[in-house]
Symmetry: C2
Subunit: 641 residues, 2 copies
């Protein structure tokens, strides 16, 4: 039945709306372009993507940029293919199918806003990526670019350098509205998450949702932390109280986030969307096989070979990096000692300022090392591949990178706390590291690229204005601007920043209660600078449906468990607590161990008791599952009778 619809579908439509830009290398052979565009336009039955393509004629008459769009009907059929979940008229969320389109809220045959632009672009990306070689042995015109049945054409074009990039187009009108409601005016209130989701997709909206939630969640810690600084409280019982509150609070906020996440992604439909049934990303190598779940023919990936390669290549590299990072740490301690000696010899304002210099230098070096490690890891993974529209860090390397960052940032603090036992240095070092890294990050991630981007735009505009004759020029101008913008490589780095910040706040919270205050201040500006980055600095990223923050939930929870241990040890080491047990160090340690075990037990019980999904979402999910199974029964019945 769907088959009939596909053949009805015409590739011509009068009101062509460009959605995605395909940039080919300059001087790409004619036959290649013809073959590629034909495959994009070709009917599904012939193995094409059945999309619309239009060349962008620039002032120089060059034809290396193509605009891809699709008819409304094509997009609706694509929405069914990717399994979008939409709200029905009866308020339930259901997987969209073309034939049941009338049951969906806000659906009308002439309502072109039923699918958001981000969704349309996601569909087109999915279709382009799934354009697979049939019996071609190579890309026409490029005998060295081999193809085999089932190989993603776009992927091969990218790796052989013929295709420079694919990116979705900004919608100037929408973007202006979004910018205004997001950060355009000074206001107290939440971010427009639903609008962000419509424009940038669920992954990015969820990141901003988490950033906002996390900032609010830190406020109580910050409020409780301020008097410790103002009144210079040093009583042990107050520190114990603060640490205990922090530890239990962090458990609560992480559990509550799961619930909020479920509510939000249920509304967005991604909670019900099944990722595992999707066809593998075109990045996968391998020959065609049968997917055991869906029964569809698709490329199968051998994961053992990949695992071995990762361990053989990555492990020695990681060890090397770790060694280097520890070496740098030792240099930092030497510097610190030198600064201290200097301060003792010639005590002055300058020398006491100098005390902070080693920490600041170390913080800068850490940031630089993190970035170098990142690029090196990416180079190792991609190794001869050309990657353009998504970060090449795969999951395993992300774990390595995460651990490396963790050690890089916290090794010195652990060393100071548990080897040197120097609480004053720990506090000073913690503060300097936290503040320096925050300033550096905000500068390197948003402000610097923004400034570069602005300068570039000005130059472009100057060049363009003299040629404003073609009616299409604004589009050409826009595309020329956007294609030079940087690429946003996903939310990994942004989450990592939050993760490290959470470490600074919670691992040593009883030593430096003010950390939460700095974290809150940073995050408020972070929301704005990240928003600026998304709207102004980078190319528009493709939307990526997601139902949760993935591995980060586990990472934050692990950090929260580790911080129970560190805080208990720190409190046990504090002189105030030691003074309570003048006779026996043993009693002290036993008490600390007992308290730690109690706290851990409470944490686990709390995590167990608080349900991950609110009751009404649980019921809705169970209802859908029940209906699915009933439908399966009915279907078997119908086919059999």
């Amino acid at each position: 039945m769907i088959g009939v619809l596909w053949s009805f579908l015409d590739t011509f439509e009068s009101n062509f709306r460009p959605l995605v830009v395909v940039e080919l290398a300059k001087g790409t052979k004619k036959e290649t372009i013809e073959w590629f565009t034909k495959r994009i336009v070709d009917k599904k039955a012939n193995g094409g993507a059945q999309l619309l393509v239009k060349p962008l004629v620039t002032e120089k008459g060059e034809e290396n940029i193509y605009l891809v769009g699709a008819s409304h009907l094509r997009l609706l059929l694509g929405a069914e293919t990717v399994g979008l979940v939409k709200e029905c008229n009866d308020n339930s969320m259901r997987t969209f199918t073309y034939s049941s389109r009338k049951t969906f809220r806000d659906f009308a045959d002439d309502n072109h806003n039923f699918l958001t632009m981000a969704e349309c672009q996601y569909i087109i990306k999915h279709e382009l990526e799934n354009l697979r070689a049939k019996d071609e042995k190579m890309i026409p015109g490029y005998p060295q670019a081999k193809l085999y049945p089932g190989k993603s054409i776009v992927r091969r074009l990218l790796t052989s350098g013929i295709l420079v990039q694919i990116f979705p187009l900004h919608d100037r009108e929408e973007l202006k509205k979004l910018r205004h409601s997001w950060y355009g005016r000074v206001k107290v209130g939440y971010q427009p998450l639903d609008e962000i989701r419509c424009y940038f997709g669920e992954t990015i909206a969820l990141y901003f949702g988490f950033l906002e939630y996390f900032t609010f969640a830190l406020v109580p810690m910050a409020v409780i932390g301020i008097p410790y600084y103002v009144f210079a409280w040093e009583d042990y019982d107050k520190y114990v109280m603060f640490a205990t509150f922090n530890l239990l609070w962090s458990t609560v906020i992480l559990e509550v986030w799961k619930r909020i996440c479920a509510i939000v992604t249920y509304r967005w439909g991604t909670l019900l969307m099944k990722r595992q049934f999707e066809e593998p990303r075109p990045g996968f190598h391998g020959v065609l096989g049968i997917n055991p779940v869906t029964g569809r023919e698709e490329p199968v990936y051998s994961s053992i070979k990949r695992q071995i390669r990762i361990y053989l290549v990555s492990l020695p590299f990681v060890c090397l990096c770790l060694y280097f990072s520890l070496y740098v740490m030792m240099i930092y301690f030497d510097l610190e000692q030198w600064a201290l000696d200097y301060h003792e010899e010639n005590e002055s304002n300058f020398s006491s300022l100098m005390l902070f210099v080693p920490s600041i230098i170390y913080a800068v070096v850490i940031e630089i090392m993190n970035r170098i490690y990142r690029y090196a890891a990416e180079f190792l993974t991609s190794w001869g591949k050309k990657v353009v529209y998504s970060s090449s860090l795969n999951t395993n390397n992300k774990y390595f990178y995460l651990q490396f960052n963790f050690l890089n940032c916290f090794a010195s603090l652990f060393y100071i706390a548990f080897v040197l036992f120097d609480m004053k240095l720990l506090r000073q070092s913690l503060a300097t590291l936290l503040i320096t890294s925050q300033i550096l990050n905000q500068f390197a991630e948003s402000l610097l690229p923004y400034w570069l981007q602005k300068r570039h735009k000005k130059r472009m505009k100057k060049r363009m204005s003299s040629l404003k004759t073609d009616t299409d020029l604004t589009l050409v101008e826009q595309i020329n601007l956007e294609k030079e913008m940087g690429t946003y490589f996903g939310t990994f780095d942004d989450y990592l920043e939050l993760f490290l910040q959470f470490g600074y706040v919670s691992l040593f919270s009883c030593v430096y209660p003010l950390a939460a205050v700095f974290a809150v201040l940073n995050n408020i500006t972070e929301i704005y600078s990240d928003a600026l980055k998304m709207c102004r600095v980078y190319k528009r990223p493709f939307a990526e449906p997601t139902a949760n923050i993935g591995v980060w939930q586990l990472a934050f929870e692990t950090m929260s468990v580790i911080s129970v241990v560190t805080n208990c040890i720190l409190i046990g080491m504090s002189p105030q607590v030691n003074a309570l047990f003048p006779d026996s160090k043993m009693d002290l340690i036993l008490t600390v161990a007992l308290v730690e075990h109690l706290l851990l037990a409470i944490k686990f019980i709390m995590a167990f008791v608080i349900p991950d999904k609110p009751r009404d979402i649980q019921i809705k999910l169970a209802k859908l599952e029940f209906e699915s199974l009933e439908a399966l029964k009915q279907q078997v019945r119908a086919t059999d009778m």
Copy 2:
């Protein structure tokens, strides 16, 4: 369509096979019997159960026992109602529906063994329990037994004492075969789990599967433990090794059990069976409401009221029991002291034997207290209700009972270990408690009831033999025998026994490595005595589909975490380890704490890394989910076009 089938279904069938026995109180009014049997026989459309009923005519002409059966077609339709999952011809597991019956393996219209007898009885139980009042205000003939729309009739009959019991009938032939292959011959090998499942249902088969698995899993511990006893090893490093092995091993076995459980229950179909979509058990009170998941009208239960009642009634009771149990423990320590004094004063063989007497007495008292607590808790829950065919301990009370048992059994051991620091007494007390409780349990659970049952049977047989004239006599005889047999109240007590045994083995494993040996020996006889109990002592229980061992998985895992802590402390306290740190107790404690944290971390990582379900089961489950969602799409499409 199903509706049409229901009306075709005739309630008369020539070859009536009795499946379930309904015993009414003697002297039940005629009109009540007529009404009840009519409701059982009545068509589904009239609110009946559409089953077959036949009175059992005994020698005295009394008519208080009824046999319930069902036609083959009725059972198949019932299998669809309860959602049985069966294997298809293509080896996949699917929810059975009558219309798709031909696609299922071994299905034939004349094959009456497609459903096992246990499944048939489960279906009949389900149908009887779901026989609900329509507009009756009371049970006819008993104005005090009130009814309201939706109230389970069987439940009201039970609580008002009109219905004495409902139980499934044994199948002598099958039982004989099962007994033979289960414990009838001496053999080395596994239990016939699939046959047990066919006869007794999944819950009981899974218990025996777990018992067997657990016994095998204990063998390595036992093997490693024996030389400690034989060579009287007291080196600390050997104990550390043994404890470390134990702790990691217990994590592995619990994780592997989940995988085995998934494999087994997938084959049985219960892994796919959805319990949460079932209608609530007739035990629930309350008025009719709409189930938010299935959209069906069914009794809704207010859980807040129940919670409050539980806490108001149960908590003080539990506290009282705990106080009493601690009081008994103190008396035990006095006795122990007295025995020790006696032994020191007059040293002889008799006095050294006397040393064990307090522990043995205490073990007996613990068992008695556990049972008293159990009956008291059941009395508190049921309070004026008459419960016959299932244990009345609800989930919350089960938790209380579990905790009470745990404290009752282990409080004295914890006290000896961590307050008295007396390792010798701990070992002696542990050994006595473990062995005494095992002997007592085997005796009280299986052998004593078996002996009583045998005596009763002999007496019955003697009485019967003189009257052997009626052709139906063997059935009458069988029913008269079975209705007097004890009722098996579910696997809770059996699992509890294993759980406490696991505690004895793992909590103090480094003190008494021989515990695992006793556990293995006990479990081997336990399998036989439990099998005897199921086949010979108790009434046949109704089958209960289940996909896992439920809360016991969590209970065993928690025990395994607690034992990491206890073992680390015990090792830290041993004189051998103390001798390694002659200068500083602090270093000792810190080392112990470090090792403990490492072990806990390894445990959690292992539990995280080992997948709960084998990959092929995961794929099969994902495939079913995928097909369900596809079917839902198709269905919406079909209804809409």
